[in-house]
């Protein structure tokens, strides 16, 4: 085995490694190269965020338009403040849009669904979404259902 052959094969190993890594990046994890996306931030207060967590999706008419950046506790009114980051290409959302915590399918992840409002003014960086609907808790739902059954 000459040195030339060995060097060629080692070069082949390096290329194979690079190919494998790029397959993992693009085909398996679906990485987006256009990381130059700009975002603007809005906040919304929820009474109950359920199992929502950072990086959960924010969707509008079924399309993903952003993600949850962080969830923090608001001491004064015992609620959870969710900070959303929304792609700046979606900058025409009316200021009275509402946010609801929804569930994907029966057992899926929770995400935030936005419903479009009617005002002329749009959400900008730092806006607050006033109308919110908390996550559905199955136990509360069943409790309410049983209560209404016994009343009849």
């Amino acid at each position: 085995m000459t040195m030339k052959w060995i060097e060629t094969l080692v070069g082949g190993l390096m290329i194979a490694g690079a190919l494998a890594l790029s397959m993992l990046a693009f085909k398996v994890s679906g990485i987006q190269l256009s990381s130059g996306d700009n975002y603007y931030h809005v906040t919304a207060d929820f009474e109950n965020v359920g199992s929502l967590q950072a990086r959960s999706k924010v969707s509008l008419s079924g399309l993903v338009i952003g993600e949850v950046e962080k969830i923090e506790y608001v001491r004064e009114d015992y609620t959870a403040r969710v900070t959303l980051k929304i792609k700046s290409s979606y900058d025409n959302l009316p200021i009275d849009s509402t946010a609801a915590i929804l569930t994907q399918g029966m057992l899926g992840d929770q995400y935030i669904g936005l419903s479009v409002g009617a005002e002329e003014e749009s959400l900008v960086d730092g806006s607050v979404i006033e109308g919110t609907q908390s996550a559905l808790v199955l136990e509360e739902l069943i409790g309410a259902f049983l209560l209404s059954m016994t009343k009849e």
């Binding site: 040195m3 060995i6 060097e7 094969l9 080692v10 082949g12 190993l13 390096m14 194979a16 490694g17 190919l19 494998a20 890594l21 397959m23 993992l24 990046a25 085909k27 398996v28 994890s29 679906g30 990485i31």
Partner: protein, 260 residues
Amino acid sequence: MLDRVQQLGASTLGFIQRFGHSGIFLFYSLWGIPNLKTGTALLIKQLYSVGVLSLVIIVVSGTFIGMVLGLQGYTILSDFGTENALGQLVALSLVRELAPVVTALLFAGRAGSALTAEIGLMKATEQLASMEMIGVDPLRRIIAPRLIAGFISMPILTAIFCATGVWGGYLVGVEWLGLYEGAFWANMQSSVSFEHDVLNGILKGFIFGIAITWIAVFQGYESEPTSEGISVATTKTVVYSSLTVLALDFILTAMMFGEF
């Protein structure tokens, strides 16, 4: 009773001393400015014997493990009518756990044992001693290129194992069992994150690579210079590095993916 306690103390001290010794060994091998001209040639030779020669076993086992995951996953998932999640199952289990661990175990058996046996034989035939005699430091000339070759090869082999495994899962799931191809890839891409899953998996491979080559080279260098000593050292390399990999994997998984 007191004798037992004393024995325990002695073996603990022995272990710590050996551990420290191997740390100093690692430090002296890698410390200092490398000679780029001769160093590169030596490194390429080692990359060939450590990395290229391990490629076949990695590719073959990666493909088969991916295929088995695809088949088993399909059987279980189709009971719940969620066979579209197969891509996600195959990719996540490979990227996070199977690829780094299985690659490391194969690497310990294929490359680690060879390193130990080679260095042990060099020691037994007094090649290392004669090198020192003519003023060449065996740590720099023999040990360092092998260590670095191991550090470089393991993450590359892990990535290759992952890629071939996913391909194996694709072969079984889509080509053979007839899953819808779009759903297979789309589900995978929505659940695997590049920074969190892929890079952490490859980082695991790198850390396992450090552990295995370190153990292999140290065992060879410290082996008894007899034929029996070499066989004992080779066995120790495979056993110690496999156990280290499995224990390290638990710790790394808890640190990388644990939610606490």
